[in-house]
Subunit: 243 residues, 2 copies
C-alpha cells in the first residue's frame, strides 16, 4: 500500500495552493546550499511531502527547468523515501489534441525529453529519455482526468527541431521538468506519475508566455484540486491498483 507520496513542484505559485489545501507545514533539513523547500504532513492515511525548487536570489524567480528538477528529486527521495512521486505543475497543451485551458492531465506513457537532440546512433534514443510512469488509467477514469504523453524541455517556446520530437512521441502535454524527475525516479526505482494543469495552448495564436501569465492562477487552482483528489483516491491503494 502507498504510504508516502512526494510531490515535486517547480514554482511557489504552483505549490502554495497544494500546501494550503493539504495543511502541510514547513520542514527543515534541506542539505546546505540547496535552494529547495519542503512542506509535509499527514493527509488521510498518507504521509505527503511537497518539495519546491526554490528561487534564484539573483533574479527573484523560481528555479524552473530540468537541472533543479533532477537535483531536487534526488535529494527529496533521499530524505522522504516515497512510495510514489508526483511531478506536479502547469503545462502547455494542444487544442488539436483535445486540450482546454484548465484541463488536468495524468501521464499516460513514458516521460520524454523533446530538447535533447543528439544525432549519433544510440545517443539519439538516450537523449529522448522515455522514462516509465505508473499506469494510472483507472485513477484518471475515476477522477475524470485526461491522460496523455508528457514531454519536457528547458524552454517555454517550441522551435521546429523540438516540435518534431514532440510529434514523433505523440506529445499531449509540454512542460519543463517531468522527464528530469522521471530520469531520477527511474534510476532509483520509485514509481512516478505526472499531474499537469494546462495554462496555455501551444497551437493558439497568442504567445505562450502571455497565456501562461493570464491563466496561471486558474490553472494552479485546478492543479491543487486534482492533486488533492489524486491523493484521496490513492489513499489505501497500491500503485498497481491505480491502473
Amino acid at each position: 500500500m502507498i504510504g508516502t507520496v512526494l510531490v515535486v513542484v517547480a514554482m511557489r505559485a504552483e505549490a502554495q495552493p497544494i500546501v494550503d489545501r493539504l495543511g502541510l507545514e514547513p520542514v527543515d533539513g534541506v542539505p546546505a546550499g540547496l535552494p529547495f523547500a519542503w512542506h509535509a504532513g499527514s493527509v488521510g492515511g498518507l504521509q505527503v511531502a511537497v518539495t519546491t525548487n526554490g528561487i534564484d536570489p539573483r533574479h527573484g524567480v523560481d528555479n524552473i527547468a530540468t537541472q533543479p528538477a533532477a537535483l531536487n528529486t534526488y535529494v527529496s527521495i533521499d530524505r522522504w523515501a516515497p512510495d510514489l512521486v508526483l511531478t506536479a505543475g502547469t503545462a502547455g497543451g494542444w487544442a488539436a489534441r483535445g486540450a482546454d485551458i484548465g484541463d488536468v492531465y495524468l501521464s499516460g506513457g513514458d516521460l520524454v525529453f523533446h530538447d535533447r537532440r543528439i544525432g549519433i546512433p544510440a545517443f539519439d534514443e538516450y537523449g529522448h529519455g522515455r522514462y516509465p510512469t505508473v499506469d494510472a488509467a483507472g485513477l484518471a477514469a475515476r477522477l475524470a482526468l485526461k491522460t496523455g504523453v508528457v514531454t519536457t524541455s528547458n524552454s517555454l517556446d517550441d522551435p521546429e527541431p523540438d516540435r518534431s520530437i514532440m510529434r514523433a512521441h505523440g506529445a499531449d502535454v509540454k512542460e519543463m521538468e517531468a522527464a528530469a524527475v522521471g530520469w531520477v525516479t527511474w534510476l532509483l526505482g520509485v514509481p512516478v506519475m505526472a499531474v499537469k494543469a494546462i495554462t496555455d495552448l501551444v497551437d493558439h495564436h497568442t504567445e505562450t508566455a502571455e497565456q501562461f501569465q493570464a491563466n496561471l492562477a486558474m490553472a494552479t487552482d485546478r492543479l491543487s484540486d486534482a492533486v488533492t483528489a489524486v491523493l484521496s483516491d490513492i489513499d489505501g491503494r497500491t500503485v498497481a491498483e491505480l491502473a
Copy 2:
C-alpha cells in the same frame, strides 16, 4: 592552497586517458542507484578525483547532457569536498573565433546555458544561467591554452534560437555539461573552471556528429595533456593565484 580537485567528465572516452595518465584508482561509495563512477589518487601534492556520468544501460551510451552533470556534481562535491572543480571534456568551437580542432580552452567568463529560452522577464536571465568561473588568465598564459566563453545545451546541434543566445554571450566553446556543473558549484560556493578540447567546428560544413566521431580520440588525448598540465600548475597555488 588548493588541496583537492574534482574533475567532472561526462564520457568514459574523455575520462579514461585522464585516469590512466594520472594513475588514479577506482573508488567505491557512489550512492545506491546512481550511475556515476569515481577514480581518485594523489597527483603531486594534490588529491584528485575524477567522476564520470556513467552509462545508460538501455542504450549502452554515456550519460551526457546537463541533468546527469548537475546530479553528479552535487553528489561528488558532497563526497570529495573539493577546493576546485574542473568541468572537463570535448566541445565545439568556431573557426571564425580562432578555434582549431584539438585546441584546449579554459573558461573565461561565466558559464551560460544557450538552450533555456524562457521569454518572461527575469526568467529569461535566469534561464541563461551565467554562473561564475575562476579567473584562470595566468594559468592559461603559462600553459599556452586559449580562454573563452563556454556555453551549454542538451543538444549536439545548434538551431537558430540557440545560436542567437550563443552570439549574445560571445560563445567560444559549445558543449553539453558545463553550465549545469556551474549551477551546482555556484550553489555550493566551490570555484569552478572548464577545460574543453575542440572536436568539431560549428561553422565547418561537415556535420558536427561526423567531426565529433572523427576527432574524439585526438581531442581526448589533448584534453588529458591539458588536465595533467593544469593540475601540475595548480599544485602549490591558491585559486586566486591562477588569475
